[in-house]
């Protein structure tokens, strides 16, 4: 027969465990310990509050442009599956995941206040720094995962990126390399529906982003990205698959960027208030809190106590950051870490700046 159907036995699943009213699908419950549930809740609240604090600091002119994370806090469910020596390969909207993995709030503030010192990697964690060029970091996760496999280690590399990144060549190359070499990489797509002003529907005609995995013969799943339990469950499956040598996984987390793209952006220009309102009802924290209340793990007092506790923590971090700035960090540090050894001509340029500084201090 010259022309017939090729049977490709593929299906794409959608996973939701905790619905927007906080109602649990018991059959799908990943059965997390109470301790972990409470930790996840606290971490999500901390991320939300810190995000809000950063926005205030930005509006006050104390820090520069940053990409708020509001609405995407359930990403913590994915990194909660990881061990510290697993690799986190983030883009620029993974503050919640970074905090979970040891990133100091004062360093985040320093970074967005324009100090390279904020790039400090938390001790004991394999976290790559924030990567701004969209989608480019996904290749690093693929390469890291190959090295892990080559060294016969049990780690995995988990990379985050947005819906816009699925239009980038590097994303496709990373998916392809990861699948061809069957490496323990986990691709977490934060489909927050907007790449600055361009909606998800303009990035691709595909009905789901998850189905992009199929072209690479990679398992792909779409999950409710505002449901921390679904995100956790899907990530757990993917991480287990990676650790047991069964290759990479793609997870599309359907979520929403409830705030601006960055603080330099005004979303009113391109999206409606109604759309945002619709997503407020699907807030990842509200539903999780309701679930915990229903489970009798949480009450009004505890909610208040948690909020006060994280606010205190944020206040302390802001204090440490202000101390750092008061110490007027040395601009000469810009010459550090270019290469292992600074070449003579750059050393000379460092001396030029040093002389200029001395002149400024000494003269008028």
């Amino acid at each position: 027969m010259p022309r017939k159907d090729i049977n490709l036995p593929y299906k794409i699943q959608y996973l939701s465990i905790l619905d927007e009213n906080g109602k649990l699908d018991k059959k799908l419950d990943p059965n997390l310990s109470e301790d972990l549930l409470m930790k996840l809740y606290r971490a999500m609240v901390l991320s939300r509050k810190f995000d809000e604090r950063m926005l205030t600091l930005q509006r006050q002119g104390k820090i520069g442009t940053f990409a708020p994370i509001k609405g995407q806090e359930a990403q913590i469910g994915a990194v909660a599956v990881l061990e510290p020596d697993d690799w986190l390969v983030p883009s620029f909207r993974e503050m919640a995941a970074e905090l979970w993995r040891g990133k100091k709030m004062e360093n985040i503030l320093s970074l967005y206040a324009g100090y390279n010192e904020g790039g400090e990697i938390p001790e004991g964690f394999n976290n790559l720094p924030v990567s701004i060029p969209v989608g480019s970091q996904t290749l690093h996760a693929a390469g890291i995962a190959y090295a892990i496999r080559y060294r016969k280690q049990k780690q995995v590399a988990m990379t985050f990126f947005g819906d816009g990144a699925t239009s980038e060549g590097d994303f496709h190359e990373a998916m392809n390399f990861a699948a061809v070499f069957q490496v323990p990489a986990i691709f977490i797509c934060q489909n927050n529906h907007w790449a600055i002003s361009v909606p998800r529907s303009h990035q691709t005609r595909s009905k789901t982003l998850a189905q992009k995995a199929l072209a690479y013969e990679m398992p792909g799943i779409q999950v409710d990205g505002n449901d921390v339990l679904a995100v956790y469950a899907a990530a757990k499956e993917a991480v287990d698959r990676g650790r047991s040598g069964e290759g990479p996984t793609f997870i599309e987390c359907v979520t929403y960027r409830m705030s601006v793209h960055t603080t330099a952006d005004d979303p009113k220009k391109y999206r409606s208030e109604e759309e945002v309102e619709g997503w407020v009802k699907k807030d990842p924290i509200t539903r999780f809190e309701k679930y915990l209340r229903d489970k009798n793990l949480m009450d009004d007092d505890q909610v208040k106590a948690t909020e006060e506790e994280v606010s205190g923590e944020i206040k302390e971090a802001v204090g440490r950051w202000e101390d750092f700035i008061k110490k007027t960090p040395d601009p000469l540090s810009m010459f550090e870490h270019l290469l292992e050894e600074l070449p003579p001509h750059v050393e000379q340029q460092r001396e030029e700046l040093k002389a200029e500084q001395a002149q400024r201090k000494g003269g008028k």
């Binding site: 390279n116 790039g119 690093h140 693929a142 390469g143 090295a147 080559y150 590097d170 190359e173």
Partner: protein
């Protein structure tokens, strides 16, 4: 000692470094079974297997980004761009990440990778197979840019590049791949990155060059000695970035006359930086304007006309004579 072509010498470096260190990996398009389109990676896959000598999907940015990842997790990838003309796909990964991850992570991570690519004209190739764009890479802080000129120094520099803790772009002058043989010691040999060499001693004029053009310069120097009785000193840069400005400055102060020769376009090329350093460091010693003998500021033509484009022996001789006559 065995007489080797540059292809064989580079292969020897890879072979020995892979034997020595099981973290050294080779990856790229057709580098495995085929041994590379120039056979530079011949027999490596047989010896080290497909896990360490990887035929990758056809995607240059992918190869570079994947290599960065491997390097971050402690391996030493030596990736190949089949031709430097296709390395621009990888440029973003190199500029945005390979060159910056050490700094961005405050030294917690570094990227000890090598990106090898055949470059330059003179082999009657197709479009995109003959250009000389080392300046792009040399202009990027955080990258090192190395260009060997003989089999022996290619081997020694590649060993150093592989052992270097930072990303090294290693451009191989493909016109020299099989142009001549040279004794290459079996025993380990390295050359420091960031150091140039005197390829020929002379007292009347200094010609600074690198890569395939160096050989036109050497021939021109012989002829000038025969025909004009002029003694030309030739400096072979070997590393474009970080540039060793000590050796050529010292030479320029002795001879007072300098010509810079390379096949890359003249404007904003490596020669421009060399001259800027000379002006900064040795201005008062110069007795004539520094002349550039280079490719033209045009897209390199297809091969019927590439010999007219490339700075050959005659053009170098003319440049030297004009500098001496000033």
């Amino acid at each position: 000692m065995a007489k080797m072509t540059m292809v064989q010498a580079i292969n020897l470096a890879l072979m020995q470094e892979m034997e020595k260190d099981d973290g050294v990996m080779v990856l790229g398009e057709d580098v495995g079974k085929d041994g590379g389109v120039f056979r530079v990676t011949d027999n490596l896959m047989d010896k080290f297997g497909p896990e360490r000598v990887m035929d990758t999907p056809l995607a240059e940015s992918g190869i570079a980004g994947f290599s960065i990842g491997m390097a971050l997790h402690g391996l030493k990838p030596v990736c190949e761009m089949q031709f430097s003309g296709f390395s621009y796909f990888a440029m973003h990964q190199l500029e945005a990440h390979a060159a910056r991850l050490r700094g961005r992570s405050l030294g917690r991570f570094h990227v000890p990778m090598v990106l090898r690519a055949p470059y330059g004209g003179g082999v009657r190739a197709l479009e995109h197979h003959s250009e000389s764009r080392e300046a792009y890479f040399a202009h990027t802080p955080g990258l090192k840019m190395v260009i060997p000129s003989t089999p022996r120094n290619a081997r020694a520099l590649l060993v150093s590049a592989i052992r270097d803790p930072d990303p090294v772009i290693f451009f191989e002058p493909k016109a020299l791949y099989r142009a001549f043989r040279e004794e290459v010691p079996e025993d380990e040999e390295t050359l420091p990155i960031g150091k140039s060499r005197i390829a020929r001693e002379g007292k009347d004029v200094t010609v600074i060059s690198y890569g395939a053009t160096l050989h036109s310069v050497m021939e021109a120097a012989e002829k000038l000695e025969e025909e004009d009785g002029v003694q030309v000193e030739v400096i072979d840069l070997l590393t474009i970035s970080p540039l060793d400005d000590e050796l050529f400055s010292e030479s320029a102060r002795r001879t007072g006359r300098v010509v810079v020769a390379h096949e890359a376009p003249r404007s904003f090329g490596a020669g421009a930086e060399v001259i800027a350093r000379l002006v900064e460091k040795s201005f008062l010693y110069l007795e004539a304007p520094v002349r550039r003998v280079t490719g033209f500021d045009i897209v390199i033509p297809l091969y019927q006309r590439e010999m007219d484009y490339l700075p050959g022996v005659n053009r170098v001789m003319q440049g030297v004579r004009e500098t001496l006559d000033f």
